[in-house]
Each structure stands twice: as C-alpha cells, then as structure tokens.
C-alpha cells in the first residue's frame, strides 16, 4: 500500500486562520463581566518589601480588587514544575525585576494600569546577584531562603543543584594535545510573537483557566493543587499558542489569576506586554570550561566539561534543563573517558526555563568550538575531525543510554556537500561545520482518541499544543493514512483538558513520536472493530478480513473502511471510537530517569565572510541537514529546521539580555533587543533531511525541530575564525565584538588573537 498522506506536504491545518488573523489566541478571548489585571512591581530586582499601601489605588474608578500577598492563603502558596519555590506573589522580598508584589483588577485595562502605579510599595533596594561569579561569591546573598531547601546540602549556597556524569579514566588517557578554554553563552529570550496571556474564571463547576500554555495538563495539576480542587473541577483551555519555544511550558501567572478570580468572583485576564514577557522567561546563560584530549589523528581521548548555568531565582524547569542539556554534552562522538559537572546557579534575574534545545545549545557551543580549536592545532579540518570521532549506528557512544540510532555519517556528508566543503574558498571567506545531538523525551505519556463518524469523517482528540510546529497537520495526516479518509474530512481537537484525553506535555520534539503512536494505536483499535464489522456485514470469519491503511482486505477484494463503517453502522448511524496510548516508562537507575526515545541529530555547515573594518558578518551559505528517520511532512520538517537555524542566528549574532547593577534588563523590549529579520538571513539557506525510517515514531519517524539550533553558533564562529583568524569564545558574535578582536590583533604583534 502506498502512502497517500504521510510523506506528502498538504496545506497546514489551521494555517489559513493563523495568517489571516482569524485564529483566536488567548488575548482575543473576552468573557462577559471580565476584569483586567495589572501587576504591581518595584523598579529593581531585589528589594525588601516594607509595606504595601493600596488606598490610593482603591480609589481609582473601576478598581475592584487590589491583591497583595496578605490576601493569599498563608503561608503564601508556592509552585513550580520541579520545586515548589515560586510564590504566587512576592513574599517579603522581590527576587527579580518584574516580580509582582501586588496586582490590581479593574473594569478597564487603563484603570488597572493607573491603579497599579498608585499602589505604594515601600521598599528597600538590596544588592542583587546577576552573574555567575556574583552568585558564587561566598559573600553573595542567598537567592533562596535555605528553609525552602530543607535537607539540601547546597541550601546555604546559590547552587541549586550539581549534576555529575562520569565514565572511563580521564587520568589514564594519553593524548598528543589537550585543549582547554572557557566559552560563554548569553541570556536570550524566547520572543514568541504571541504574548503570554492568562484568563481565570470562577464558576459553579470549579475554575476555568485559559492560557497560552504548552502543557495544559500539567497546569491543570498545578492549579488544582494550589486552590484545592479536584482535577475534574479545573478546566484548562489552551488555544494554539502563537509560538512558545519552551517559554510557555510551565505556569507563570495562572496561579495568581486563579486566586484573583476566586477572590473577585469574576473572570480576570492578564495579557503580558512584550516587556513583561521579557521579564517572565528566558534561556539559561552559561559559562562552560571544556578540556579535550586528542591524539594527533584527531581522535578524542577524553573530555572534561564544567558547565555553569545561570538560572533566575526560581527553578521553573531549569534544573532539568541543566541536567538533560549537559548529559549529552560530548555530542554524537565516541569519547572514551569523560567527566561532566553541570551546576544550576540561582540569581536575581529573569526566571529561566526551557528554550528550544533544552540546555544543549549552550554546551554544544563550547564543545564544538573546543573541538575546532583542537583540529586547528593538529592541522585537521573541521569535517575530518568530526568524521574521525562520529559514532556509528548501534554504537553505545553515550554510556547508560540509547545507542546511536542513525547513519549519522550520511548527515554529515550531505551537509558538507551542500555547503561545498571541498570547493575552493573565495578570498576573505571562511567555512565552519558543527554537529549536535539532543535527546528526545526520556519519559512520556500520550493518550489519543479517534472517532470514526457515521459519514466517514474523523475526529482526532490529541492533547498536543500546536504552537506553530504543525502537529495538527501531522496528526490529521496519520489519521488520513490509517483510516483512508481525505484530510478535509478530519478535524483535530486539542487544547481543552475537559474534552481531550491526557497528554503529558508538548516538548522535547515528542509529539510526532508519542502522540503520533497513540493516534496510530487508536486507529488500529478502530481497525479491529472494523474487521469485526466487515466480517459480520459480509458474512465472513474475522480471520478472513485484514484491515490496514484505510482498507479492509476481503477474500474477494478490497473495501474502503468508510464503506465498511457505513455497512456496519446501518440505519441507526453513530460512530466507532478508538483509544490509543503511548508510554515511555521511567527508568529510575538512569542518570536522567530514562533513556532517550531517539536522538535529534543535526549537522550545520556555514560559509561566511566578515567586513574587517566593521566586524559585520555576512552568511553566504547556511546548510542544514537533520536525521529525521522519516519526514512525515517534508515541507514542515524543513520549515522547522530552517526556523530553528534562523532562531539560532539570534544568539549567534545579535541577541543577549544586558543587566544593570539593579538587576534590570537594560535592553528591555524590541528596540534594543534585536532578533534576526528576513533581511538578516543568510544569502542562501539549504536544508535537507536524511530518512532511513529508523525512528521509533509512526512509519519510522524521529522527533525533530530543535536540532538545527544546536550547531549554528559553533559553525558560524568556525567560519568567522577561518575568514578572519580571530577566535571568539563569547556569544553573540556582534560586529562590535568581532571588530574588537580584529582591532586587538591589529595592535598586537602576534598574528592570531583570541577574544
């Protein structure tokens, strides 16, 4: 049977609504009787709250509620996906700039804003820690109250956790060269186009929350726990987010909205401004020391990685980011001995969280750059040294984990070919190549329900959040393939915890694999029912009927499933219901609690040139190749890869949050925090995929969509190094930073300069 839907690139489900403005985002939803919320903050990161005077605010016409920490249950409830460390409103001391001390609900947004400014917060500014060095200083103030970390040996420090992974004997390794350096990765923000938005409404049947959240079921659990309601009385409605990238995985202001709605007895809504979104979520910055031993042929003998990640004051999911991001820090290579020490360090900065790549881009920047420095010292080129060390299919390159699950050499060779690695390089140009892996989910649980309706159309219930990655389209394609129903007769329902069965989360590029498999299982359940139906309708033994890919095979021919359905349902009509589930069980002995379901492997190759007077980089060619197992929708796959690559250009070339001494973001907002635009794209972007149908997902698919972000920075830096001779170990590679390195070289007698 040929594939009709899977492997094709049909028009995106929901795409028309998105581009024409018809899609309802949370901010577009208005409830009768709603109140608008504004947050009350102080103008620094860390302040001791002395008193909160709400009297002036309460006199503003239209103000219905001024909520302070005193109005919450005591002690003030705390929440978080890993630790219950974040208070619903600041208690005693603010920990980051933008953390609300109080909140106002009013009949209009203007009244709420006006009143929020009139809430008088008497406070004493305290010195914040906002750098890794500052947080580790023995004299530094403790970001978290040690009482919150009872039983934690590190509680009297700003180190939230330390993750260690070790194998082989580093000391026994013999190397011809040891390369050691420190690399820095900046703080960057997700910059989803849709702002974070939250609505909470009390009702007779509990509480309803609307949120631009990636993980509605996780949020449901958090809210139910905080307000003391059963899951069945907390309904989370999560319209498709307008971009999320990890920044919308976990609860932010939903708990505050829940308590305000319950107190006000009316719906409350909060739509963050872009500036407030900047203050709500960011990627963990990092400083990473890498020490690599190499033999003269380029083979790696050992590697040490010390990665310090700077978190905000509350962990959110960042401790997991540090642990899971650093564990595969050696990349897709065989490294016989390694020691990885990664620390999650607290600070008075924007709460950090998951962000596309989940901690891997930081380490990959350091390790791949370090490998290039070694290659250069040994006279090897970047492609040679990578192929020398790259794991082969089935090789257990990462101890305790899934063996190499692809023919990765194919991916690397294709990227080299696309960039023209072996062709002559124009004067003043440079090339770089980098590899990266990201672990797929280590545990997972997805349920799906597929309803085959009387007219042969199909409803797919799948709790994945389609935040732009195109999951609705993929799921419709799978159902189309399995049920033999055209796409325009299939609807995918998601985003409502009262309607759609449980899905653990939308992250780690899991949905095509886990939810995809759950949908296939649901369809296969329908296949079983249809087989029995066909046997009954056509007077056959069920053994004589085989159902597969939309068709029932009978002894004397094939019948489309739609015909079987209608014959079977008869005049009463109705429907068939199939349920499916995909689980990936936890493995308690594994350092991450579970092996990777698959690896996302990407190879990126860059050709660049640099204006040596200004330091401006022009990317001439950007080649991206990923091993995706099978591209269920080739166009979407390439869009995801190209989108990830362009996003990666942000932290590579221009994006970084700059803090002042009061812990405030100096480049707060779109004017001074620059992200790449269409005009900043490489002159040529070439992408391709490797498909060997060797993934654990439907039809051999692996998850994808983060991999192409992992390699951008090291590949660009390597190209800049070759073009200019300067090595830069801090991101982003801004024109100013490159110019400073070039300028230093002009002034220095040595021909090569490191910045």
């Amino acid at each position: 049977m040929s594939m009709r839907s899977v492997g094709a690139s049909p028009r995106r489900v929901g795409g028309h609504g998105r581009v024409t403005g018809q899609q309802q985002y949370v901010a577009d939803i208005h409830l009768p009787d709603e109140l608008h919320v504004a947050l009350v903050t102080v103008d620094c990161a860390r302040a001791r709250i002395i008193s909160v005077d709400r009297s002036a605010a309460e006199r503003v016409p239209g103000v219905r509620l001024v909520m302070t920490a005193d109005d919450l249950p005591q002690p003030v409830p705390r929440f978080g996906p890993q630790f219950r460390d974040r208070p619903v409103l600041a208690v005693g001391e603010t920990k980051f700039h933008g953390e609300p001390v109080a909140a106002v609900a009013a009949e209009t947004k203007d009244a709420a804003d006006e009143a929020a400014r009139l809430v008088l917060v008497e406070h004493e500014e305290l010195p914040p820690v906002y750098t890794i060095a500052g947080a580790l200083d023995p004299a530094a103030p403790l970001v978290q109250d040690p009482a919150l970390r009872a039983g934690d040996a590190l509680a009297e420090s700003n180190v939230l956790a330390e993750h260690r992974y070790e194998w082989g004997d580093i000391e026994a390794a013999t190397s011809d060269l040891v390369v050691e350096n420190i690399y820095a990765f900046p703080m960057v923000t997700h910059f989803a186009i849709e702002p974070h938005a939250f609505i909470a409404a009390p009702g007779e049947e509990g509480l309803t929350i609307w949120s631009s959240i990636q993980h509605p079921y996780w949020l449901q659990r958090i809210i139910a726990g905080l307000v003391g309601l059963p899951l069945a009385r907390v309904r989370v409605i999560a319209p498709d987010p307008g971009g999320a990238f990890g920044g919308k995985q976990h609860a932010k202001f939903e708990p505050l909205m829940a308590f305000m709605a319950l107190r006000a007895g009316r719906p409350v809504r909060l739509v963050l401004s872009l500036e407030e979104t900047f203050q709500a979520a960011r990627r963990n910055s990092a400083e990473i020391r890498v020490r690599t031993g190499l033999r003269s042929d380029g083979s790696i003998t050992f590697r040490e990685i010390h990665a310090d990640y700077l978190l905000g004051p509350y962990a959110d999911i960042s401790d997991r980011v540090v642990g899971k991001g650093s564990y595969p820090g050696n990349g897709p290579y065989r490294v016989p001995a390694s020691r990885i020490v990664a620390r999650a360090i607290l600070s008075h900065t924007t709460p950090s969280t998951a962000f596309r790549g989940f901690g891997a881009p930081q380490v990959n920047w350091a390790v791949e750059s370090n490998l290039d420095e070694g290659a250069k010292a040994l006279g090897l080129d970047g492609l040679q040294i990578r192929l020398r060390n790259l794991a082969r299919r089935g090789e257990k390159f990462l101890p305790y984990d899934t063996p190499a699950d692809g023919d990765w050499q194919q991916t690397v060779r294709r990227a080299a070919e696309l960039v023209g690695w072996d062709t002559e390089l124009p004067a003043g140009h440079g090339r770089g190549i980098a590899l990266g892996i990201k672990l797929g989910p280590t545990t997972g649980l997805s349920h799906a329900t597929v309803r085959f309706l009387a007219d042969g159309s199909v409803l797919v219930f799948a709790g994945t959040s389609d935040m732009g990655q195109g999951s609705r389209t993929i799921f419709a394609q799978i159902a189309s393939e399995e049920m033999g129903v055209p796409l325009d007769r299939i609807t995918v329902v998601s985003g409502d915890t009262h309607v759609v069965p449980y899905d653990q989360q939308t992250s780690a590029a899991r949905s095509s694999v886990l939810m995809g498999n759950a949908i296939i299982e649901a369809c296969r359940s329908l296949h079983g029912q249809l087989r029995d139906m066909a046997a009954q309708a056509y007077g056959l033994d069920p053994q004589e009927v085989r159902v597969e890919r939309g068709v029932a095979h009978l002894p004397d021919g094939e019948v489309p499933l739609v015909e079987v359905l209608q014959a079977g349902l008869g005049t009463l009509g109705g429907e068939l219901i199939g349920n499916g589930m995909a689980r990936k069980e936890a493995e308690p002995d594994h350092p991450l609690g579970g092996t990777a379901a698959f690896y996302e492997l990407n190879c990126t190759a860059i050709e660049a040139t640099v204006d040596d007077e200004t330091g401006e980089v022009v990317l001439v060619r950007h080649a991206i190749v990923s091993d995706v197992g099978r591209a269920l929708n080739p166009l979407q796959v390439r869009m995801q890869d190209e989108g990830a690559a362009i996003m990666g250009l942000g932290h590579t070339l221009m994006e970084h949050l700059i803090y002042d001494e009061s812990g405030r973001i100096r480049n707060l907002g779109a004017i001074d925090y620059r992200i790449p635009t269409a005009k900043d794209l490489p002159l040529e972007v070439l992408s391709d995929v490797v498909e060997n149908a060797d993934g654990p997902g439907p039809y051999g698919a692996k998850g994808m969509s983060e991999g192409a972000l992992l390699c951008v920075a090291p590949a660009v830096a390597a190209a800049v190094q070759q073009a200019t001779g300067v090595v830069i170990r801090d991101l982003p590679l801004t024109p100013q930073r490159i110019w400073e390195a070039l300028d230093e070289r002009r002034r220095s007698p040595s021909p090569e300069v490191v910045s």
Binding site: D110, E114, E613, T614, L653, M654, I658, R666, N667, I671, D672, R674, P676, T677, A678, K679, D680, T734, P735, Q736, W739, E740, D743
Partner: protein, 287 residues
C-alpha cells in the same frame, strides 16, 4: 494610555491657535509613528492630541518653485522615496527615507515628523543637513524659515517656539550635480535604530559637507571648502586628518546598549571614509 482630548483643526490658523493655547501639553499627530508608541508606553502624556491631517496646506505635496523643492509636512517617507525630482537631485535623502522603520512605518511616517521628533539618530537629518535644507514654519507671529542646522537642539527638542508648526521642508535644487551618499551603522540588516548616521556630499568645486548623527545630542554638519577631500590626487593621510577634525564633535554615550563609544568612534571614521568615497564616485558618475 492616559486619556486626552483629540482635536482635528481644519485650518492652519486653527492649528496654530490650538498649539499656542496648549503649548507643551499638545502633541501633533501626523504619521503618528513616534506619537502612538509614546502614548502607549506613557513616555508622552499630552492633554491634547492635534491631528493635522485635515489642514489643506499640510497635505502631502512635493513642489518645485524658484529653485527650491518644497516637501509639505504631511508627505510620507514612501512618497519622498518615489518622487522623481527628489530621486534626481537628492538621492541621499531617499537613502535615508528608505531605512526609516519598516515599509508600514514609511507609509505613514512623515519627513516633518522625523525632524520634529529630533532623534539624534533620525535617518533623514544628515542628508537634509548636507543638502542645506530649511524649515518653513507657521506660528502665532506668522511664517518664518529656520535653516536645518539651526533646527535641532537635542533629542525631542527643536528651536520651534510655542504655537509653531512645520509647514514644509525646502531643499535648494543644485544648479550643478552634487555627489552625495547616506550610510548608517546598525546592529542588524533589518529594521533598526542606527548607531551611526552619516551623509557626505561633494560639490563640483570640491567643497565637501559631512553630517552625522547618533553620536551626540543632535546631528551635526561640517563643511570643508579646501577641496582636499574630493581631490583624488591628495594623499590619504591628508584626507584623514581633515576627516578626523570633522568627526571630533562626536560624543557617543558610554551608557548606550547599542555600541561602545570606542566602536562608534572607530565606525564613524569607517563610515566617513566610505561616505566620502561614495560621494566622490557619484559626483564623477554624474559629471
């Protein structure tokens, strides 16, 4: 956004009277591309917004008369960029207008608004300075003309008096071709506020005008009449010495998140050399 009165005067006289009555409490709405952002962010909190789009004299118009090309206050960047006479005589102004904001911004933003906002980084200011523009102003005391190099004071401040508004911007149509080029330094290629703006103009006589902005409180203009800069036979060192003198007014802020003062000073030199080279080449091409 704080609430305000919205007024839409129908005549120039009414507009001037309105502005005079409210002084700094009034804000003019033309394209609105700076105003609306300021209102939303509460960095501008007027009690009156005066929408001047209905005033006949201010409606978009570009006319040539008595050797002067006049651009009315309502004329947008897009209209300027598309105008044949401006493209013929003042291409560097087109280059400046073409990089203000994005396409949507340029469809609304006016030249008059760009100079009245008086951002040190205004893209149209250096070309206007190089081309010797003057600003035609209407006010309670009647009409007057302000040379553009006397118009800017500092960010958001001009020499306009209470009740005055810009009617048009006038550019002297050169009798002989002038070679001029506008350059800017930005952090990315897409829409950005410039870290440096620079325009260089070279006349057939060799007289060279250099205007630059975003490196001090206001855009500034310098003229070198020696002819050395435009002379291809002059040694590079001699040119650099003159350029260095012309660039000495730069005082980039150490507090900027956009670029360090050292980088800005160095890039100002690079842009000045490139601007001069481009202007000389264009003059030669026009001859």
């Amino acid at each position: 956004m704080r609430s305000f009165d919205y007024q839409r005067p129908a005549t120039l006289t009414d507009a001037v009277a309105l502005l005079e009555r409210h002084g700094p409490e009034a804000q003019i709405l033309a394209g609105g591309t700076d105003l609306i952002i300021g209102l939303r962010d509460r960095t501008i909190q007027p009690s009156v917004v005066a929408d001047l789009k209905q005033v006949p004299e201010l409606r978009p118009a570009i006319d040539e008369q008595d050797g002067w090309l006049s651009i009315s206050a309502g004329t947008t960047m897009t209209q300027i960029s598309a105008h044949p006479a401006i493209r013929r005589h003042f291409m560097a102004l087109v280059e400046g207008a073409d990089v203000v904001g994005s396409v949507q911004i340029r469809n609304r933003a006016t030249l008059a608004g760009n100079i009245c906002n008086a951002s040190p980084a205004a893209d149209t200011a250096p070309p206007l300075l190089v081309f010797g523009a003057r600003v035609l102003v209407e006010g309670p005391a009647g009409e007057r003309r302000i040379p553009i190099d006397e118009f800017f004071v500092r960010s958001r401040e001009t020499t306009l008096l209470r009740g005055e508004l810009v009617k048009s911007i006038e550019l002297p149509v050169p009798r002989e071709p002038v070679g001029a080029a506008y350059l800017r330094l930005t952090r990315r290629r897409g829409t950005d506020l410039a870290s440096i703006t620079l325009c260089c103009g070279v006349e057939p006589s060799g007289s060279t005008r250099l205007a630059y902005g975003s490196v001090g409180p206001k855009p500034v203009l310098f003229t070198d009449k020696s002819g050395v800069l435009a002379d291809p036979a002059t040694a590079e060192d001699a040119k650099l010495a003159i350029l260095e003198e012309m660039l000495s007014a730069a005082s980039p802020s150490p507090r900027s998140v956009r670029a360090s003062p050292q980088y800005r000073r160095a890039m100002l030199r690079v842009l000045a050399r490139r601007g001069l080279r481009a202007a000389v080449e264009r003059l030669r091409g026009a001859a």
